[in-house]
Protein backbone atom coordinates (compact mmCIF):
# COMPACT_ATOMS: atom_id res chain seq x y z
CA UNK A 1 0.00 0.00 0.00
CA UNK A 2 2.17 2.84 -1.23
CA UNK A 3 2.37 5.75 1.16
CA UNK A 4 0.94 8.12 -1.43
CA UNK A 5 -2.44 6.63 -0.74
CA UNK A 6 -5.01 9.15 -1.80
CA UNK A 7 -7.30 10.34 1.00
CA UNK A 8 -10.75 8.62 1.09
CA UNK A 9 -12.80 9.48 -2.02
CA UNK A 10 -16.22 9.96 -0.44
CA UNK A 11 -16.59 12.00 2.68
CA UNK A 12 -19.33 10.92 5.02
CA UNK A 13 -21.93 12.39 2.63
CA UNK A 14 -21.98 9.39 0.36
CA UNK A 15 -24.56 7.58 -1.67
CA UNK A 16 -22.89 4.17 -1.94
CA UNK A 17 -25.11 2.98 -4.75
CA UNK A 18 -23.89 5.81 -6.99
CA UNK A 19 -20.18 5.14 -6.58
CA UNK A 20 -20.17 1.37 -6.04
CA UNK A 21 -17.98 -0.82 -8.22
CA UNK A 22 -19.78 -3.19 -10.62
CA UNK A 23 -20.86 -6.07 -8.35
CA UNK A 24 -23.69 -8.30 -9.45
CA UNK A 25 -24.95 -9.14 -5.96
CA UNK A 26 -28.44 -7.57 -6.29
CA UNK A 27 -30.68 -5.17 -8.26
CA UNK A 28 -30.74 -1.82 -6.47
CA UNK A 29 -33.75 0.49 -6.17
CA UNK A 30 -33.72 3.83 -4.41
CA UNK A 31 -36.97 5.24 -2.99
CA UNK A 32 -38.32 7.67 -0.43
CA UNK A 33 -40.29 6.89 2.73
CA UNK A 34 -43.53 7.79 0.98
CA UNK A 35 -43.01 5.36 -1.91
CA UNK A 36 -41.19 2.53 -0.13
CA UNK A 37 -44.29 0.60 0.89
CA UNK A 38 -45.79 0.49 -2.61
CA UNK A 39 -42.38 -0.40 -4.07
CA UNK A 40 -42.07 -3.36 -1.71
CA UNK A 41 -45.62 -4.53 -2.36
CA UNK A 42 -44.99 -4.36 -6.11
CA UNK A 43 -41.84 -6.43 -5.70
CA UNK A 44 -43.72 -8.94 -3.57
CA UNK A 45 -46.30 -9.36 -6.33
CA UNK A 46 -43.41 -9.63 -8.77
CA UNK A 47 -42.28 -12.80 -6.96
CA UNK A 48 -39.85 -11.56 -4.28
CA UNK A 49 -41.50 -13.72 -1.59
CA UNK A 50 -39.07 -13.27 1.31
CA UNK A 51 -38.02 -10.04 3.00
CA UNK A 52 -34.70 -11.41 4.18
CA UNK A 53 -33.46 -8.40 6.12
CA UNK A 54 -33.96 -4.71 6.95
CA UNK A 55 -30.77 -2.82 7.79
CA UNK A 56 -30.08 0.74 8.89
CA UNK A 57 -27.14 2.94 7.91
CA UNK A 58 -26.34 6.45 9.19
CA UNK A 59 -24.63 8.83 6.74
CA UNK A 60 -23.94 11.76 9.03
CA UNK A 61 -23.73 14.75 6.69
CA UNK A 62 -25.75 13.43 3.76
CA UNK A 63 -29.18 15.09 3.36
CA UNK A 64 -31.44 12.06 3.72
CA UNK A 65 -29.31 11.15 6.71
CA UNK A 66 -30.42 7.56 7.29
CA UNK A 67 -30.75 4.71 4.80
CA UNK A 68 -33.19 1.93 5.64
CA UNK A 69 -32.18 -0.97 3.39
CA UNK A 70 -34.71 -3.70 2.54
CA UNK A 71 -33.22 -6.94 1.16
CA UNK A 72 -35.70 -9.08 -0.77
CA UNK A 73 -35.20 -12.55 -2.15
CA UNK A 74 -36.95 -14.43 -4.96
CA UNK A 75 -36.70 -18.22 -4.76
CA UNK A 76 -35.85 -20.38 -7.78
CA UNK A 77 -39.25 -22.13 -7.53
CA UNK A 78 -41.28 -23.39 -10.52
CA UNK A 79 -38.88 -22.17 -13.16
CA UNK A 80 -38.23 -18.67 -11.86
CA UNK A 81 -34.57 -17.56 -11.56
CA UNK A 82 -33.45 -16.88 -7.97
CA UNK A 83 -32.67 -13.18 -7.54
CA UNK A 84 -32.07 -10.57 -4.88
CA UNK A 85 -33.17 -6.96 -4.83
CA UNK A 86 -32.12 -4.17 -2.47
CA UNK A 87 -34.44 -1.25 -1.81
CA UNK A 88 -32.65 1.72 -0.20
CA UNK A 89 -35.02 4.22 1.39
CA UNK A 90 -33.43 7.57 2.28
CA UNK A 91 -34.87 8.89 5.57
CA UNK A 92 -34.31 12.54 6.62
CA UNK A 93 -32.43 13.01 9.88
CA UNK A 94 -34.85 15.56 11.39
CA UNK A 95 -37.91 13.40 11.86
CA UNK A 96 -37.04 9.87 10.70
CA UNK A 97 -40.32 8.03 10.15
CA UNK A 98 -40.86 5.13 7.74
CA UNK A 99 -44.14 3.22 7.24
CA UNK A 100 -43.93 -0.31 8.64
CA UNK A 101 -44.14 -3.48 6.54
CA UNK A 102 -44.57 -5.83 9.51
CA UNK A 103 -48.20 -6.45 8.49
CA UNK A 104 -47.05 -7.73 5.08
CA UNK A 105 -44.00 -9.68 6.33
CA UNK A 106 -44.06 -10.65 10.04
CA UNK A 107 -40.25 -11.03 9.87
CA UNK A 108 -39.99 -7.24 9.76
CA UNK A 109 -41.28 -6.93 13.35
CA UNK A 110 -37.99 -7.38 15.25
CA UNK A 111 -35.87 -5.91 12.45
CA UNK A 112 -37.81 -2.64 12.60
CA UNK A 113 -37.72 -2.60 16.38
CA UNK A 114 -33.95 -3.01 16.22
CA UNK A 115 -33.54 -0.12 13.77
CA UNK A 116 -35.76 2.01 16.03
CA UNK A 117 -33.66 0.93 19.02
CA UNK A 118 -30.19 1.46 17.53
CA UNK A 119 -30.86 4.28 15.03
CA UNK A 120 -33.95 6.12 16.28
CA UNK A 121 -35.82 5.69 12.98
CA UNK A 122 -39.42 5.07 14.06
CA UNK A 123 -41.82 2.96 12.01
CA UNK A 124 -45.39 4.28 11.81
CA UNK A 125 -48.00 1.55 12.24
CA UNK A 126 -45.70 -0.90 13.97
CA UNK A 127 -47.79 -2.85 16.55
CA UNK A 128 -45.22 -2.84 19.35
CA UNK A 129 -42.40 -0.35 18.71
CA UNK A 130 -40.10 -0.40 21.74
CA UNK A 131 -36.44 -1.10 22.41
CA UNK A 132 -35.37 -4.66 21.66
CA UNK A 133 -31.62 -4.82 22.29
CA UNK A 134 -30.97 -2.19 24.93
CA UNK A 135 -32.50 -1.82 28.40
CA UNK A 136 -35.75 0.13 28.46
CA UNK A 137 -34.28 3.18 30.17
CA UNK A 138 -31.31 3.61 27.80
CA UNK A 139 -30.91 7.10 26.36
CA UNK A 140 -29.60 7.65 22.84
CA UNK A 141 -29.30 5.45 19.80
CA UNK A 142 -25.85 3.78 19.76
CA UNK A 143 -25.39 3.03 16.04
CA UNK A 144 -25.70 6.69 15.07
CA UNK A 145 -22.39 8.12 13.97
CA UNK A 146 -22.49 10.90 16.57
CA UNK A 147 -22.89 8.43 19.45
CA UNK A 148 -19.46 7.78 21.09
CA UNK A 149 -18.18 4.21 20.82
CA UNK A 150 -17.79 3.72 24.55
CA UNK A 151 -21.06 5.40 25.45
CA UNK A 152 -21.62 8.89 26.85
CA UNK A 153 -20.73 7.95 30.44
CA UNK A 154 -17.32 6.56 29.58
CA UNK A 155 -16.50 8.64 26.57
CA UNK A 156 -14.24 11.08 28.40
CA UNK A 157 -12.48 8.50 30.62
CA UNK A 158 -9.17 7.50 28.99
CA UNK A 159 -8.82 3.86 28.12
CA UNK A 160 -7.59 2.37 31.45
CA UNK A 161 -3.93 1.44 31.17
CA UNK A 162 -2.97 -1.00 33.89
CA UNK A 163 -5.76 -1.16 36.43
CA UNK A 164 -4.67 -1.53 40.02
CA UNK A 165 -6.28 -4.93 40.16
CA UNK A 166 -4.00 -7.61 41.42
CA UNK A 167 -3.69 -10.01 38.53
CA UNK A 168 -1.97 -12.52 40.74
CA UNK A 169 -3.57 -15.92 40.38
CA UNK A 170 -5.94 -15.98 43.33
CA UNK A 171 -4.69 -19.36 44.53
CA UNK A 172 -1.36 -20.90 45.33
CA UNK A 173 0.04 -22.99 42.54
CA UNK A 174 1.18 -26.39 43.74
CA UNK A 175 4.72 -25.20 44.30
CA UNK A 176 3.41 -22.41 46.57
CA UNK A 177 6.51 -20.39 45.94
CA UNK A 178 5.81 -18.59 42.71
CA UNK A 179 2.72 -16.77 43.99
CA UNK A 180 4.62 -15.40 46.93
CA UNK A 181 7.53 -14.31 44.76
CA UNK A 182 5.16 -12.70 42.28
CA UNK A 183 3.37 -10.81 45.02
CA UNK A 184 6.64 -9.59 46.48
CA UNK A 185 7.56 -8.38 43.00
CA UNK A 186 4.24 -6.54 42.64
CA UNK A 187 4.47 -5.08 46.09
CA UNK A 188 7.94 -3.83 45.23
CA UNK A 189 6.63 -2.39 41.98
CA UNK A 190 3.96 -0.55 43.94
CA UNK A 191 6.55 0.78 46.28
CA UNK A 192 5.10 -1.02 49.31
CA UNK A 193 7.55 -2.89 51.50
CA UNK A 194 6.43 -6.45 51.97
CA UNK A 195 7.39 -7.83 55.44
CA UNK A 196 9.90 -10.71 55.23
CA UNK A 197 8.17 -13.90 54.25
CA UNK A 198 5.61 -14.31 57.12
CA UNK A 199 5.44 -17.77 58.71
CA UNK A 200 2.70 -19.73 56.90
CA UNK A 201 0.40 -20.18 59.92
CA UNK A 202 0.44 -16.48 60.68
CA UNK A 203 -0.79 -15.97 57.15
CA UNK A 204 -3.45 -18.60 57.70
CA UNK A 205 -4.72 -16.92 60.85
CA UNK A 206 -4.67 -13.47 59.36
CA UNK A 207 -6.48 -14.85 56.38
CA UNK A 208 -9.13 -16.68 58.36
CA UNK A 209 -10.70 -13.43 59.49
CA UNK A 210 -10.42 -11.41 56.32
CA UNK A 211 -13.36 -9.35 55.22
CA UNK A 212 -15.79 -11.15 52.95
CA UNK A 213 -15.61 -10.04 49.36
CA UNK A 214 -11.88 -9.36 49.39
CA UNK A 215 -9.96 -11.47 46.93
CA UNK A 216 -7.96 -13.81 49.14
CA UNK A 217 -4.70 -14.27 47.30
CA UNK A 218 -4.05 -17.51 49.04
CA UNK A 219 -0.29 -17.18 48.63
CA UNK A 220 2.02 -16.38 51.49
CA UNK A 221 1.17 -12.67 51.42
CA UNK A 222 -2.24 -11.82 52.81
CA UNK A 223 -4.53 -9.25 51.20
CA UNK A 224 -4.08 -6.70 53.96
CA UNK A 225 -0.42 -6.26 53.23
CA UNK A 226 -1.14 -5.61 49.56
CA UNK A 227 -3.78 -3.07 50.50
CA UNK A 228 -6.41 -5.09 48.65
CA UNK A 229 -9.93 -3.75 49.03
CA UNK A 230 -12.94 -5.61 47.63
CA UNK A 231 -12.57 -6.04 43.90
CA UNK A 232 -15.13 -3.54 42.77
CA UNK A 233 -13.44 -0.66 44.55
CA UNK A 234 -10.06 -1.73 43.29
CA UNK A 235 -11.04 -1.72 39.64
CA UNK A 236 -11.54 1.43 37.60
CA UNK A 237 -13.55 4.03 39.42
CA UNK A 238 -16.92 4.23 37.66
CA UNK A 239 -18.38 7.73 37.58
CA UNK A 240 -20.55 7.86 40.65
CA UNK A 241 -23.94 8.69 39.07
CA UNK A 242 -23.06 7.13 35.76
CA UNK A 243 -24.72 9.82 33.68
CA UNK A 244 -22.00 12.47 33.23
Amino acid sequence: MPSSQTPPAGSTALDPTAVRPAIDDARIIRTTPQAVRDELLALKRDGYAMLSDIGGVDYLEREPRFDVVYHLLKFALNGAQAARVRVLCGVPGADPVVPTVSDVWPSADWAEREIYDLFGVSFSGHPDLRRIQLPVEWEGHPLRKDYPLRGPARDRTPRPSFALKSNVAAGTPASGKTAAALQRQIAAARGQTLPPDPAPHAAEKAQAGNTPGAVATAGAATPQELGAEPNAARGRQLPKDGSK
Binding site: W138, R150, N167, A170, H201, E204, A218
Partner: protein, 160 residues
Protein backbone atom coordinates in the same frame (compact mmCIF):
# COMPACT_ATOMS: atom_id res chain seq x y z
CA UNK B 1 -2.21 -26.49 60.96
CA UNK B 2 -0.49 -25.02 64.00
CA UNK B 3 -2.89 -24.03 66.74
CA UNK B 4 -2.56 -21.00 69.07
CA UNK B 5 -5.10 -21.74 71.79
CA UNK B 6 -6.32 -25.20 72.89
CA UNK B 7 -9.97 -24.06 72.54
CA UNK B 8 -9.43 -23.69 68.87
CA UNK B 9 -8.35 -27.26 68.44
CA UNK B 10 -11.87 -28.66 68.04
CA UNK B 11 -13.35 -25.86 65.95
CA UNK B 12 -10.19 -25.62 63.89
CA UNK B 13 -10.42 -29.31 63.02
CA UNK B 14 -14.16 -29.27 62.23
CA UNK B 15 -13.65 -26.20 60.12
CA UNK B 16 -10.84 -27.86 58.22
CA UNK B 17 -12.91 -31.00 57.58
CA UNK B 18 -15.84 -28.87 56.47
CA UNK B 19 -13.61 -26.87 54.14
CA UNK B 20 -12.19 -30.08 52.71
CA UNK B 21 -15.72 -31.40 52.11
CA UNK B 22 -16.85 -28.13 50.60
CA UNK B 23 -13.86 -27.88 48.33
CA UNK B 24 -14.20 -31.35 46.89
CA UNK B 25 -17.67 -30.73 45.43
CA UNK B 26 -18.06 -27.14 44.29
CA UNK B 27 -21.32 -27.02 42.31
CA UNK B 28 -21.36 -24.36 39.56
CA UNK B 29 -24.49 -22.44 38.50
CA UNK B 30 -25.91 -23.10 35.00
CA UNK B 31 -25.36 -19.63 33.61
CA UNK B 32 -23.66 -19.42 30.24
CA UNK B 33 -23.46 -16.07 28.48
CA UNK B 34 -21.46 -16.34 25.25
CA UNK B 35 -18.60 -18.30 23.62
CA UNK B 36 -16.99 -19.15 26.97
CA UNK B 37 -20.20 -21.01 27.88
CA UNK B 38 -19.55 -23.41 25.01
CA UNK B 39 -16.06 -24.06 26.33
CA UNK B 40 -17.58 -24.50 29.82
CA UNK B 41 -19.92 -27.14 28.39
CA UNK B 42 -16.97 -28.78 26.67
CA UNK B 43 -15.23 -28.90 30.05
CA UNK B 44 -17.98 -31.26 31.21
CA UNK B 45 -17.68 -33.35 28.04
CA UNK B 46 -15.65 -36.58 28.10
CA UNK B 47 -12.43 -35.08 26.73
CA UNK B 48 -11.84 -32.78 29.76
CA UNK B 49 -14.39 -34.15 32.23
CA UNK B 50 -14.90 -31.65 35.06
CA UNK B 51 -16.39 -34.57 37.02
CA UNK B 52 -12.85 -35.36 38.15
CA UNK B 53 -13.02 -32.19 40.26
CA UNK B 54 -16.52 -32.91 41.51
CA UNK B 55 -17.93 -29.88 39.72
CA UNK B 56 -19.83 -31.41 36.82
CA UNK B 57 -23.23 -31.00 38.48
CA UNK B 58 -24.45 -27.70 37.03
CA UNK B 59 -27.24 -26.54 39.35
CA UNK B 60 -29.93 -24.59 37.56
CA UNK B 61 -31.04 -22.62 40.61
CA UNK B 62 -28.71 -20.28 42.50
CA UNK B 63 -30.02 -21.65 45.77
CA UNK B 64 -28.11 -24.88 45.32
CA UNK B 65 -24.96 -23.51 43.63
CA UNK B 66 -21.69 -22.58 45.34
CA UNK B 67 -19.78 -21.29 42.33
CA UNK B 68 -20.85 -18.79 39.69
CA UNK B 69 -18.80 -19.09 36.49
CA UNK B 70 -19.42 -15.85 34.58
CA UNK B 71 -18.67 -17.34 31.17
CA UNK B 72 -18.88 -14.75 28.44
CA UNK B 73 -19.36 -11.08 27.82
CA UNK B 74 -21.68 -9.31 30.26
CA UNK B 75 -24.07 -6.93 28.53
CA UNK B 76 -25.42 -3.87 30.32
CA UNK B 77 -28.93 -5.35 30.18
CA UNK B 78 -27.70 -8.54 31.86
CA UNK B 79 -25.76 -6.78 34.65
CA UNK B 80 -28.67 -6.36 37.13
CA UNK B 81 -29.62 -9.99 36.53
CA UNK B 82 -26.11 -11.23 37.28
CA UNK B 83 -26.10 -9.11 40.45
CA UNK B 84 -29.47 -10.55 41.46
CA UNK B 85 -28.35 -14.13 40.80
CA UNK B 86 -25.20 -13.53 42.86
CA UNK B 87 -27.24 -12.17 45.75
CA UNK B 88 -29.62 -15.11 45.61
CA UNK B 89 -26.83 -17.66 45.81
CA UNK B 90 -26.39 -19.32 49.18
CA UNK B 91 -23.28 -18.41 51.17
CA UNK B 92 -20.40 -19.27 51.08
CA UNK B 93 -20.14 -18.60 47.33
CA UNK B 94 -17.29 -18.07 44.88
CA UNK B 95 -17.04 -16.47 41.44
CA UNK B 96 -14.84 -17.33 38.46
CA UNK B 97 -14.68 -14.59 35.84
CA UNK B 98 -14.09 -16.76 32.78
CA UNK B 99 -12.45 -15.18 29.77
CA UNK B 100 -11.21 -11.76 28.82
CA UNK B 101 -14.70 -10.33 28.22
CA UNK B 102 -15.91 -11.14 31.73
CA UNK B 103 -12.66 -10.05 33.35
CA UNK B 104 -12.14 -6.76 31.57
CA UNK B 105 -14.52 -6.27 28.65
CA UNK B 106 -12.07 -8.06 26.35
CA UNK B 107 -12.11 -7.00 22.69
CA UNK B 108 -15.43 -5.18 23.19
CA UNK B 109 -14.50 -1.82 24.71
CA UNK B 110 -17.83 -0.25 23.80
CA UNK B 111 -21.12 0.99 25.22
CA UNK B 112 -22.81 -2.37 25.48
CA UNK B 113 -20.40 -4.45 27.56
CA UNK B 114 -19.73 -4.10 31.31
CA UNK B 115 -15.97 -3.57 31.38
CA UNK B 116 -15.26 -6.29 33.91
CA UNK B 117 -17.66 -8.36 36.02
CA UNK B 118 -15.88 -7.25 39.18
CA UNK B 119 -17.58 -3.88 38.90
CA UNK B 120 -20.84 -5.75 39.59
CA UNK B 121 -19.93 -8.72 41.78
CA UNK B 122 -16.72 -9.65 43.69
CA UNK B 123 -14.61 -12.13 41.73
CA UNK B 124 -12.25 -14.77 43.13
CA UNK B 125 -10.46 -16.15 40.09
CA UNK B 126 -9.85 -14.28 36.84
CA UNK B 127 -9.24 -16.39 33.71
CA UNK B 128 -7.41 -15.04 30.69
CA UNK B 129 -8.24 -16.40 27.24
CA UNK B 130 -10.80 -15.77 24.55
CA UNK B 131 -12.21 -18.30 25.11
CA UNK B 132 -10.04 -20.02 27.70
CA UNK B 133 -9.53 -23.70 26.90
CA UNK B 134 -11.45 -26.18 29.05
CA UNK B 135 -8.15 -27.11 30.71
CA UNK B 136 -7.96 -23.47 31.83
CA UNK B 137 -11.38 -23.82 33.40
CA UNK B 138 -10.27 -26.96 35.23
CA UNK B 139 -7.25 -25.06 36.56
CA UNK B 140 -9.54 -22.21 37.68
CA UNK B 141 -11.79 -24.64 39.56
CA UNK B 142 -8.61 -26.02 41.10
CA UNK B 143 -7.67 -22.55 42.28
CA UNK B 144 -11.13 -22.12 43.77
CA UNK B 145 -10.71 -25.41 45.61
CA UNK B 146 -7.37 -24.27 46.99
CA UNK B 147 -8.97 -21.04 48.12
CA UNK B 148 -11.74 -22.93 49.87
CA UNK B 149 -9.28 -25.23 51.63
CA UNK B 150 -7.36 -22.18 52.82
CA UNK B 151 -10.56 -20.50 54.01
CA UNK B 152 -10.69 -18.01 51.15
CA UNK B 153 -14.07 -16.61 52.15
CA UNK B 154 -13.59 -17.09 55.89
CA UNK B 155 -14.42 -20.80 55.84
CA UNK B 156 -17.63 -22.50 56.65
CA UNK B 157 -18.14 -21.57 60.28
CA UNK B 158 -16.37 -18.27 60.49
CA UNK B 159 -18.77 -15.79 61.99
CA UNK B 160 -17.49 -13.03 59.70
Amino acid sequence: MAVDSPGEFLLGKVDEVARWAQSSSVWPLTMGLACCAIEMMTATAPEYDMARLGSEVFRASPRQADLMIVSGRLAQKMAPIIKRLYDQMADPKWVISMGACASSGGVFDNYAIVQGVDTVIPVDVYMPGCPPTPDGLLYAVNLIQQQIRQGGRGGIFARA
